[in-house]
């Protein structure tokens, strides 16, 4: 009996020893992901099938959360949010690509400085940075003070959709630049030399060699700007005038205001997640998720 027991114990020990390296290396991250990504997501899925209650949710199965999503009202809102994400992504790529390109051409010493420029905003909480933008672009803010001092017309930017777009691009630009820089840097200069040897002139080496080779970077940038953009509702709240409705704001209010409709908020979140996954799947035709690394 005793022998059998110790035998089993030894076997368990041996198993632990065998997987020890794996447990030590993947364990903490795995634990983190399960606790803070998987479990909350399960919560959201479960709540989305429950009933609306006094404070937001009550036990009992219901599909009402999902049924409410499928009204013209929220279709329009989701459309508007996707459009904002698309515009943000396009602008981030437009500004981010040349910047990343310049970074690869810059002298080695400059590169670390440029990376620092991109990383520096992360030292300050993003809500505070958005507040700073508010004081800059307010109708009586520093930007208009400067324009006035130069004898130019002042601009009305604060509380417009333009201000929301500005906030989004500002917030997400670093996430676009870094993957682009990564893939641009990997390009072997000899490829460009070969291209020019073979007769590629002016913009052709860029269009035929650089751009195709950096598509994975473009893909990663797009994912990293498009998806967060759908969720950054506080930028819409802080920069916009509240006269338009974005999906993040609708979701927020289901949990934090008198709507207390958690199932509806959860259902909206799930639909947003599914929609994003579908779009990503479509998008993998030009890149793959492995490029995200």
């Amino acid at each position: 009996m005793r022998g059998k027991f110790s035998n089993a114990g030894e076997r368990i020990l041996a198993a632990i020893r065998k997987f020890l390296a794996l447990i030590v290396m993947v364990g903490p991250t795995g634990f983190w992901l399960v606790l803070f990504v998987f479990v909350p997501l399960v919560f959201v899925v479960v709540i989305s099938f429950m009933q609306r209650g006094d404070y937001g949710v009550e036990a009992g199965f219901s599909l009402q959360g999902y049924l409410s999503v499928f009204s013209a009202l929220y279709g329009k809102t989701i459309g508007k949010s996707l459009l904002l994400a698309l515009e943000t992504t396009a602008l981030c790529l437009l500004f981010g690509y040349p910047f990343a390109y310049c970074m690869t051409k810059a002298p080695k010493k400059m590169v670390s400085f440029l990376v620092l420029l991109i990383m520096m905003p992360f030292w300050v909480n993003s809500v505070i940075r958005i507040y700073a933008w508010r004081t800059l672009i307010n109708d009586n803010g520093y930007l208009n003070m400067l324009l006035e001092a130069l004898g130019l017309n002042t601009i009305h930017l604060m509380r417009t959709n333009g201000a929301i777009l500005l906030g989004m691009v500002y917030e997400l630009l670093p996430f676009a630049v870094l993957p682009l820089y990564n893939s641009l840097e990997k390009i072997d200069p000899s490829l460009l030399e070969a291209a020019s040897d073979l007769g590629a002139k002016r913009h052709r080496p860029f269009l035929r060699v650089v751009l195709p080779l950096t598509m994975p970077g473009v893909f990663a940038s797009t994912i990293q700007t498009f998806i967060p953009c759908l969720g950054l509702y506080y930028i819409c709240n802080m920069m916009g005038g509240g006269t338009d409705l974005y999906i993040g704001q609708v979701i927020e209010r289901q949990f934090l205001s008198e709507a207390h409709n958690w199932p509806f908020g959860s259902a909206l979140s799930i639909i947003l997640i599914v929609l994003t996954i579908v779009m990503m799947k479509q998008y993998t035709r030009i890149g793959s998720l492995e490029d995200m690394a």
Partner: protein
């Protein structure tokens, strides 16, 4: 250099130890679950100095957040809460609060009688009013005179001359309630049909709205960017403090009012501490100290008598007493909350 740094460090440490030594150990603790930014720390310090009871404060930013927390965590150890009037009944039904013996709170006599004995707690068996928030209309006298607009009713907010000239709270209850009062003589705040019937009014209003903003609507008013604001009285007060042209006007419809009240929880470990604390807050000098920091609607008549002109002459802070008595208490609408949200979303998405 290194040596002197070390010496400095040791000195700092000693100083820190010395300072903590100054504060005597409290005889007990009172756990307060309160709105954010509603009672300044100085008040708690003064209370501890006097009674030896340390106030440990946790904060919430919505009644629903507070309710949900108490309902989920049955072993909560809060002694005193500060819920708005419309959740008192729910707290009673859920058996989360206990009756208050106002005989042990002598300063209860200072509370404005117009906010006592209301429907949400007849005879104030469970609650002692603390402070209130009233939704008012702030106007820029010069700007509305130039536009030729006069605001006597909520319907005047739809005047086409006010296009782009209004800032509104970004809050479905406040807006739909205003629409209900403007369009229906005696509105039923829980009726789906009535709530949905306000959409045309809200869409008309939206044409005039420059921004929906609950965080800092006063800044748009104070900087002359808009002529009218449907805002909380504290925002109006802040705008008035910064700009002499700003004033508060009252309409034929009553204002919305939310009274925040002290209640003692069922779990409270030391009811005596709680009573002492509530009594302390309603001491005129203490209440004045709070209003100097957070100028809400004063519900303490004795404090009103000693407040300075900065508070009394500000029409946003010192709201009209008759209007206060006439105001409509924002009520619990239960399930109808989702219709408010839906109509609000419809108005915004249009």
């Amino acid at each position: 250099m290194k040596k002197s740094l070390a010496v400095l460090l040791v000195l700092c440490l000693l100083a820190a130890v010395g300072m903590t030594g100054c504060k005597p150990k409290p005889i007990g603790k009172l756990y307060l679950y309160n709105w954010t930014e509603y009672i300044p720390q100085d008040v708690f310090d003064l209370f501890e100095e006097e009674t030896g009871i340390r106030v440990v404060e946790s904060t919430y930013s919505s009644n629903e957040q507070m309710l949900a927390k108490l309902d989920i965590d049955k072993d909560y150890d809060y002694d005193v809460l500060v819920p708005s009037s419309y959740v008192i009944e729910t707290l009673k039904e859920k058996d989360l609060i206990q009756p208050i013996n106002t005989a042990n709170i002598p300063n209860f006599a200072n509370v404005d009688p117009s906010v006592l004995n209301r429907d949400f707690d007849p005879g104030n068996q469970y609650s002692v009013p603390y402070m209130a928030t009233m939704t008012v209309i702030a106007v820029n006298r010069e700007k509305i005179a130039n536009l030729g607009v006069e605001i006597q009713s909520l319907n005047d907010l739809l005047d086409p001359r006010l296009e782009g000239q209004i800032v509104c709270l970004d809050d479905s209850r406040e807006l739909v309630d205003a629409a209900l009062k403007a369009t229906i003589a005696e509105p039923d705040y829980t009726s789906k049909e009535q709530i949905e019937s306000t959409l045309p009014w809200l869409l008309e209003l939206k044409k005039n709205v420059a921004a929906f903003d609950s965080d800092s609507p006063y800044s748009l008013i104070a900087s002359n960017e808009v002529a009218v604001g449907l805002v909380y009285n504290i925002d109006a007060g802040q705008a008035i403090g910064e700009n002499d042209a700003i004033d508060v006007v009252y309409t034929t419809e009553p204002c919305e009012l939310a009274i925040d009240n002290f209640v003692i929880t069922k779990n409270a470990k030391n009811v005596e501490y709680a009573e002492k604390f509530i009594d302390f807050i309603h001491r005129p000098e203490v209440y004045k100290m709070i209003l100097d920091e957070f100028p809400g609607v004063c519900l303490n008549n004795a404090a009103l008598a000693i407040l300075g002109p900065e508070y009394l002459d500000n029409a946003g802070s010192n709201v009209d007493k008759d209007e206060l008595a006439r105001a409509h208490l924002t009520s619990d609408v239960g399930d109808a909350g989702q219709y408010y949200d839906e109509i609000f979303n419809k108005m915004k998405a249009d």
